[in-house]
Symmetry: C2
Subunit: 340 residues, 2 copies
Amino acid sequence: MIFIDACLGKKTPYTPVWMMRQAGRYLPEYMRVRGEAGDFLSLCKDVERACEVTLQPVDILGVDAAILFSDILVVPMEMGMDLRFEAGEGPIFDNPIKSQADLDALNVEKGVDNLSYVYEAVKMIRSKLDPSKALIGFCGAPWTLATYMIEGKGTKNYAVSKKMLYSNPQLLHAILRKITKALKVYMSRQIEAGANAVQIFDSWAQALEESAFFEFSWPYIKELCSYLKEKYPHIPIIVFPKGISAYLEKIDGDFDVFGVDWSTPIELAKEKLGSKYVLQGNMEPTRLYDKDAIDVGIDHIYSVMKNSRHIFNLGHGILPDIPVENAKYFIKSVQKRTKS
Amino acid sequence: MIFIDACLGKKTPYTPVWMMRQAGRYLPEYMRVRGEAGDFLSLCKDVERACEVTLQPVDILGVDAAILFSDILVVPMEMGMDLRFEAGEGPIFDNPIKSQADLDALNVEKGVDNLSYVYEAVKMIRSKLDPSKALIGFCGAPWTLATYMIEGKGTKNYAVSKKMLYSNPQLLHAILRKITKALKVYMSRQIEAGANAVQIFDSWAQALEESAFFEFSWPYIKELCSYLKEKYPHIPIIVFPKGISAYLEKIDGDFDVFGVDWSTPIELAKEKLGSKYVLQGNMEPTRLYDKDAIDVGIDHIYSVMKNSRHIFNLGHGILPDIPVENAKYFIKSVQKRTKS
């Protein structure tokens, strides 16, 4: 698998490419299956349909890796939190975590067992996926999951989580420990079901100032990486902490690939981390609105990374109103442009 | 005025301090006046009440500078765009700019004349404000204003503006030129009415990748700064482009103070810009939920900046649910801690 080779720093015939949220709303085929499933959460729990939408971008766009279709919030949901998705509002937990008692009510063992539909989907996807293509499993990072569990709904300022962080850090650490414990099992089971690599999404790393990031986010990601690396040394681990360009040089840990978000100049990521890790990313997702902008973006990133270890991707998820034709153009152009 | 001295790099008896959004919802006195005015926009247009809420944090908290109470969006509104504020949704322009014709319908000259209530408020505030305290005028940066004018409403991804940026850059540049033209007059009139310093807020600088920032945002800020600096060399100019920590070393221009947002480590800002500019900032605003967190935040920033040119501030606006007592504690603690 060219994607796995690239994750491990081996030479590949071209730079492999995939897109975050590639199984998503910009694809009419996805919208059809989602409509059949009923709603977003039903689609996550529907093994056959989750498998179908995971495979769509491989067939339609020719990406080099599939990423499991699921949502990061199924983990706290199955641990006992009531999750619903409201149109236009995003995910809502009706009973956010406010106290140690709220946290104690969550069950790690039951949660990871309840997630069997995810492991079954991984197994089915791996059995149907072209053997030359990789399957990426994933989870949300502990801090990112904690913000949702504490806020209960979308937030602009993360004020509830950060109030807890600065005035009751013990409780926040207890939440993070419990999530990390669940994620160790959750990711292990995805790997044992057939995931060829895993990615840890810390989308809300950017909500933290530096000192808080290195106390409340990064140590838990590192702990999870070390655990998985020791248990599954040949499975590449990708981390994606978004918005931390100001202190990239302080990043270390037992992982293979660092995901670069679009706000971090690729030159800076290469300078600070390129000798330690394979870099993944980081095209500005809105460049996909325009083919010329796609060409300029690819040229720029490739001019920086052509002699370094690199996986092409967007620097954030693909947007729902991107024309499929442009997404296809991006994938094909990368594969053609980077051919050695 | 100790604040102006600090802006110009002169030695001061202590580090002056103010807070972005200090005339705001966390103050019961503000809420009372806003209730009397009717709504937010009416308050912006009500000279006496705008003056009253501008002065409140000076009286209540003892900050070293007042900042004009207004909104960055009054500029496009008075140029001819219908603006309304919906509870929970923020500002809405019902007819966003989609074409050159939409842009042509906006009138710079009429707009800056219609803004006379702002100039009158500045005049009244300056006449009532303690002569030892500075009055800061302000505007939104061209790119930030353009995003609102193009999106029409709140956005998570700036997808409409960035679609224009990558597929119709000519129109975006035309919008930015027209806004910049209006801001030159608007800021000149604030200064002539009595503003002792001005701040340019580029809150959505963070929505741009590096190359786009240096094409669509920064040149227009620089142009505005150069214009004002030449005309009013003794009026300090503060710029606040949020979320650009990855390329601080490329920042230059005719301004005096660089506002550091909370996501940029103050050590990094000092290293990259501290020898060229006075730095303002950058306490994490959610630290104001807790007095111990305030102390730790002040100690950290002061340990870095004590022998450098510095103005204390938050790294973003104060949040509506911060206890007034904690805001007061922050201001008093800075003034006490930094006394030489």
